[in-house]
Amino acid sequence: MIQLASIKKSYSLGNEDVLVLNGIDLKINRGEFISIMGPSGSGKSTLMNIIGFLDRPTEGTYFLNGKEVLQYKEHELAKIRNRAIGFVFQQFNLLPRLNALKNVELPMIYAGVKKKEREERAKEALEKVGLGDRMLHLPNELSGGQKQRVAIARAIVNKPDLILADEPTGALDTKTSEQIMELFTMLNKEDGTTVIVVTHEEEVASYANRLILLRDGYIVQDIDQENRGEIL
């Protein structure tokens, strides 16, 4: 589904160019559950942003479903973000003035879905994450775990190919973290949605089938956790 080749990313800091990603080659198949780990500064967030089309690499090629997408214009990338990818953030990033239902409706508004269908699908998504009884609550009336469930409902409502979760349990306690990770596992198993989780917690990473370790902008390990075999 996704094929990255020789992805490099550098930022200019003053006169110096800082290389964050130093030639990443990565192939992600449909239905995988991947966790990306690495110390801070290893480039895992940057990689995530590039996979999610929030950022463009300095060099390299990116094939999504067989199409080279880096040449796409900004508004075309926005469309891919909208349809093909669901984002889950550490800080949930719910719009504070909208209730859970409205927050989940947001991606469909940008997709141009009609109001009635939007409501139905948003309800469905919220029920799926176990928040059928909290639909009309504002974010500040929800617990951290509930907020993250709303965010996950929002991420899956457009039926994306890929869910990208950046430290999704970073702001949650252990028990809630487990529930959230179980939710991701369910989405991966039942719907076949590809899930990529960036984390620095090994327990969280252990839910994934595949573990990618990043260091200094390189992939240093790529492990098939189920078969305990190294892919690289």
């Binding site: 508004h75 469309k79 719009l95």
Partner: protein, 397 residues
């Protein structure tokens, strides 16, 4: 994303910060309402002025402006250019429905020891109808007064005040040019624009006027026709006829009050425009307020913008969202401003009796202009929002 969704978002973010939104709108409200108020006043004034000059009903005046030779030949004619024969001739013109004549002179009017200088007008009966001369007390001049050359006089409220002070004027004998007259009526106080002119006027039947002044000339003729088209024709024919009778070339003319009124109307329109522009400057200041608050709002909502971008909003959609928000802000302000400005205008109008016109075009212009202000001052903040880097915006604390 539809415009309706954008307007909903705009309203919700305006309502969340009520105080801030109201304060921001005040600038726009003051700007729009002062423009509406001034233009309403200006347009009302212009119309009033025009109607005063043109007079009500389809009337034109005939005037006498002789050439130099004609003036040397007949120097007295300038003050009283028309004769009774002239009137009789003009009466034969079929297009004319009514002829109003008056002869005016300044002279002394005395009641007991009190002598006042006043204009003394000898009028015909139609003068009363066409010029809408109404009495507030007593009676008007009657047909019998006109026919018999009676010694009845109607005086203006200004003269009544000066001559009689607190005494009851009706039935009293006053001396006009040393001739006794009975005061039969006092005219209504002029209202509106004319209220400030308290002029001294005495109106007597023309035949009586002729007797007491020994002058049988008429100083002004106004003709009335059934409609405007006939009026043009009637005026032309009357002037032609008079020139023919008096053997003059173009001494007798139709005074086209419409043109004069248009000229004055233009002057007041220009004045209105200038003052309106000055009021418009406050709209610009209001616009800057809107820009300022939009910039604050965008900074506060950086994370929201980042989130929206991650969820699939294009830069264009973000730009549009904030532009709509700025326009909604200025449009609400503009609408309140229009209502407020029109309200104040009506209030002022009812208090001081000045006419106002709140016309549809000016209301539409007010709305469009406030929307325009929203676009002009919203584009910079909206552009800033749409150019945010989504990654930076998502991390923004």
């Amino acid at each position: 994303m539809s415009i309706v969704e954008n307007i909903k978002i705009a309203f919700s973010s305006i309502f969340v910060h009520k105080m801030r939104s109201i304060l921001t709108m005040i600038g726009i409200i003051i700007g729009v309402s002062s423009v509406i108020f001034i233009v309403a006043l200006g347009q009302g004034g212009t119309e009033k002025l025009k109607s005063l000059i043109v007079g009500s009903g389809n009337t034109v005046s005939l005037s006498y402006s002789p050439s130099e030779e004609e003036m040397k030949e007949n120097p007295d004619a300038l003050w009283s250019p028309f004769t009774e024969d002239d009137i009789r001739s003009i009466e034969t013109i079929p297009e004319i429905s009514k002829i109003v004549t008056s002869s005016d002179e300044f002279g002394n009017v005395r009641y007991r020891e009190n002598t006042i200088e006043s204009s003394i007008s000898g009028i015909n009966q139609t003068y009363i109808e066409v010029n809408e001369l109404n009495v507030s007390s007593g009676r008007n001049l009657l047909p019998s007064d006109f026919l018999g050359g009676g010694r009845a006089a109607v005086i203006s409220s200004g003269l009544s005040k000066e001559l009689f002070e607190k005494e009851e004027p009706l039935g009293k004998i006053i001396y006009v040019q040393s001739q006794p007259f009975e005061v039969v009526g006092v005219l209504e106080k002029p209202t509106g624009l004319l209220a400030s002119f308290s002029s001294n006027e005495v109106y007597v039947p023309w035949k009586t006027w002729r007797t007491i002044t020994g002058n049988n000339k008429i100083s002004s003729i106004t003709i009335q026709a059934e409609n405007t088209e006939k009026l043009q024709e009637a005026g032309k024919k009357a002037a032609q006829l008079l020139n023919q009778i008096h053997g003059t070339e173009e001494a007798y003319q139709v005074t086209n009050m419409e043109e004069i009124a248009e000229g004055i109307g233009q002057i007041t329109s220009i004045m209105t425009l200038i003052i309106g522009c000055i009021a418009g400057v406050s709209l610009l200041v209001g616009g800057i307020g809107v820009m300022n608050i939009m910039l604050v709002s965008i900074t506060e909502r950086t994370r929201e913008i980042g989130t929206r971008m991650a969820l699939g909003a294009t830069r264009g959609q973000i730009l549009f969202q904030f532009l709509v928000e700025a326009m909604t802000l200025t449009l609400i302000g503009g609408t309140i401003g229009i209502l407020f400005g029109a309200g104040v205008a009506y209030l002022v109008s009812s208090i001081i009796g000045f006419p106002i016109i709140v016309s549809l075009p000016i209301v539409l212009i007010g709305l469009l202009f406030s929307m325009f202000i929203g676009i002009i001052f919203g584009i910079l903040p909206a552009n800033k929002a749409s150019n945010l880097d989504p990654i930076e915006a998502l991390r923004y604390e």
